[in-house]
């Protein structure tokens, strides 16, 4: 009897814990769904309204649309650069046996994750300043790309490692140039990996606040992540009406992209093609 009770208690306790944990993560989402349509939003997630007044007001701010466009541009620039550079680097590192190659990769990955953006910000700022790239997308894109590349190379190298070298060798025997082999054989084979890297870099750039905040001075160039910061009063009080509406606008593109990619390609994190 006691054993049975203990079992029920354990089940109830576990379910309650899971429910609490789920609620902890679900509440901010709920807030993001309700607050933008609430005429007087608070920090509580509660259905009210609905009204579109918050959106009308947020679009009064000329920075809103340009910032979203800026975010898209920055994300695309960095994505193209990361995918192109990571594919070439991963292919080379996977196929050419350099002494200390694996060590190099691990050190790169280690430094890029240990030396976080915040700690590297001062030298990065100085570097970009010396290059005269402050307040340019080129500067921001290069810094963002540099931060994403080690992990991107690491992931993509795994994909290239699993594709048999006999594909490339047979193409070589038939006279294909290295560029033809890359275009016709390697890229199609590691395409799932490139899709993963592309989505992952877009999401990373989209959510990055610090780097564009520090390297861009002109408000017209600021991406959405930085503009979010402008919906605060001078006293540091958040204007929840504008902030909630903008937050929803800010998250929609990423969610749409996820759904599209998921639908179109499916996320395949299992490495390259196996036979």
């Amino acid at each position: 009897m006691g054993g049975w009770l203990r079992l029920v208690a354990a089940r109830v306790g576990f379910s309650a814990f899971v429910a609490l944990a789920a609620a902890f993560f679900a509440l901010p989402m709920l807030w993001l769904v309700f607050a933008p349509f609430d005429p007087t939003p608070t920090l509580a997630a509660r259905p009210a309204g609905p009204t579109l007044a918050n959106f009308r007001d947020v679009f009064q701010n000329p920075l809103v649309l340009t910032s979203l466009r800026n975010s898209v541009l920055l994300a695309l620039y960095a994505m193209v650069l990361v995918v192109a550079a990571a594919t070439l680097a991963a292919y080379a590192l996977s196929r050419v046996h350099l002494p200390g190659r694996d060590l190099l990769l691990y050190v790169l990955l280690l430094f890029s994750s240990v030396v976080s953006g915040t700690a590297a910000m001062v030298p990065l700022f100085l570097l970009v300043f010396e290059l005269g790239l402050i307040n340019t997308y080129l500067g921001v894109t290069l810094v963002l790309t540099g931060g994403l590349l080690p992990a991107a190379i690491f992931i993509l190298k795994d994909f290239t490692d699993t594709t048999p070298t006999s594909y490339e060798e047979s193409a070589r025997v038939f006279g294909a140039s290295p560029f033809q082999i890359l275009r016709d054989i390697v890229v199609p084979l590691v395409r799932p990996g490139m899709a993963v890297i592309a989505v992952w870099s877009i999401v990373n750039v989209w959510g990055n606040f610090l780097i564009p905040f520090i390297l861009l001075r002109d408000p017209d160039l600021a991406p959405a992540s930085v503009v979010t910061y402008s919906f605060y009063t001078e006293g540091g009080q958040a204007d929840l009406r504008l902030l909630s509406a903008f937050s929803l606008l800010y998250s929609v593109p990423v969610v749409v992209m996820y759904l599209f990619v998921q639908r179109r390609y499916g996320f395949r994190f299992y490495g390259g093609i196996k036979r």
């Binding site: 006999s166 060798e169 025997v173």
Partner: protein, 375 residues
């Protein structure tokens, strides 16, 4: 159409491993040439060096009279079929076959026509729009062949193309391959570790060990007169009997039995020399009554080979096997006498394992323009 000539070829890998050791070889125009050997003997490295995927450390390679030692793989006009076929999984069958022509910048319509022809000649019409992943192993193998054929190279290089097929399909593919090569008449170098495949397919073959050619010859020569103990042990689906023996006045002492000493070998041997006698199970008969020149013993084991039996005879520490046609097999425990066929008994020196009195086949080999590196 071209001959392939290798001159004192050496391939040394970093770390000092010598995969090919001063190898001289001449593969004639239009010939089906097999490179046979156990794994790690350097046969695949040799093939890859001919293809240009490996650069030789020393020596030269000529294809069709042109020195291609420093030429990139694509400039050698060879087509290679890999063990895993290396079909591009993201392309359809027809695109796979046409890819080499695309690299050669053949216009799309023409290369698709050529690819369709090559595919049709290998019964692949129905699969042209499929992906390699949707094909059976045998079909994949034929796509790889079609790709090589459509390229119309001077030389085909095959790296164990049948080893991924199941046993029955392998036999079919083997006959098919031989007929195909015969029709095309393209010089073919074929790497395999399967001695029966090499014997069945090749016009000539080289048996390799540790980067060297141990014997060069037609399958019949290699099967009948293996030049040394390595080849003797490697060739033959039932292993050759290799029995330790001592030379004594005009005969060979094997255990308590005495075998006749072949005249060709006798001239090179003196009484008391230690030798190894080689007798193929197929080149011996079994007698129930004692007779001179036989190995005496008891039947200890019967193994069915289908239409024949492999009979093990043991006596006085000597163990030998002989094949007996079905119906003629003795019973286990019977007393039996294994009689080597006259003229088929081979004598090897015990110290270096070389065939004694190998003069004749070597001369005929030289007449055909073969050159084996002396081991």
């Amino acid at each position: 159409m071209a001959e392939v000539v290798l001159r004192s070829l050496v391939k040394e890998f970093p770390g000092g491993v010598r995969a090919i050791d001063r190898l001289d070889l001449r593969i004639e125009d239009g010939e089906f040439f097999a490179l046979l050997g156990p794994s790690g003997c350097g046969k695949t490295t040799l093939l890859r060096t001919i293809a240009g995927l490996e650069a030789p450390t020393e020596g030269t390679i000529e294809i069709g009279g042109r020195d291609v030692t420093r030429v990139q793989p694509g400039g050698r006009d060879v087509a290679m079929v890999f063990q895993d076929y290396a079909l591009y999984p993201h392309m359809t069958v027809i695109d796979n076959i046409a890819y080499p022509l695309k690299v050669k910048r053949v216009p799309k319509a023409e290369r698709h026509r050529t690819a369709a022809e090559a595919g049709a000649s290998l019964q692949l019409e129905a699969t042209m729009e499929r992906r390699p992943g949707q094909l059976s192993g045998g079909q994949q193998q034929r796509v790889a062949l079609a790709r090589a054929i459509a390229y119309r190279p001077q030389v085909f290089l095959f790296d164990e193309p049948l080893s991924n097929l199941d046993a029955r399909l392998r036999l079919e593919a083997r006959s098919f391959l031989k007929r195909l090569q015969h029709e095309l008449g393209t010089t073919t170098v074929y790497v395999t570790h399967d001695q029966s495949e090499a014997l069945a397919l090749a016009d000539r073959m080289a048996v390799m060990e540790a980067g060297r050619v141990r014997q060069l010859g037609t399958p019949v020569e290699v099967f009948r007169r293996p030049a040394n103990l390595f080849v003797a042990g490697f060739i033959g689906s039932t292993p050759m009997n290799l029995l330790e023996a001592t030379v004594e006045d005009g005969g060979l002492r094997v255990g308590r039995s005495r075998l006749p000493l072949p005249a060709a070998a006798g001239a090179h041997l003196a009484a008391g020399d230690k030798v190894v006698v080689g007798v193929r199970p197929e080149y011996a008969t079994l007698a129930a009554e004692e007779r001179p020149g036989a190995i005496a013993g008891q039947v200890t084991l019967l193994e069915s080979l289908g239409s024949a039996f492999l009979v093990s005879v043991e006596g006085d520490g000597v163990r030998a096997q002989v094949t007996v046609p079905e119906g003629g097999q003795p019973a286990v425990g019977d007393r039996a006498f294994l009689v080597p066929d006259p003229g088929r008994l081979l004598v090897y020196r015990a110290d270096d394992g070389e065939l004694v009195g190998a003069g004749q086949p070597a001369e005929s080999a030289a007449a055909q323009g073969m050159r084996a590196t002396p081991p």
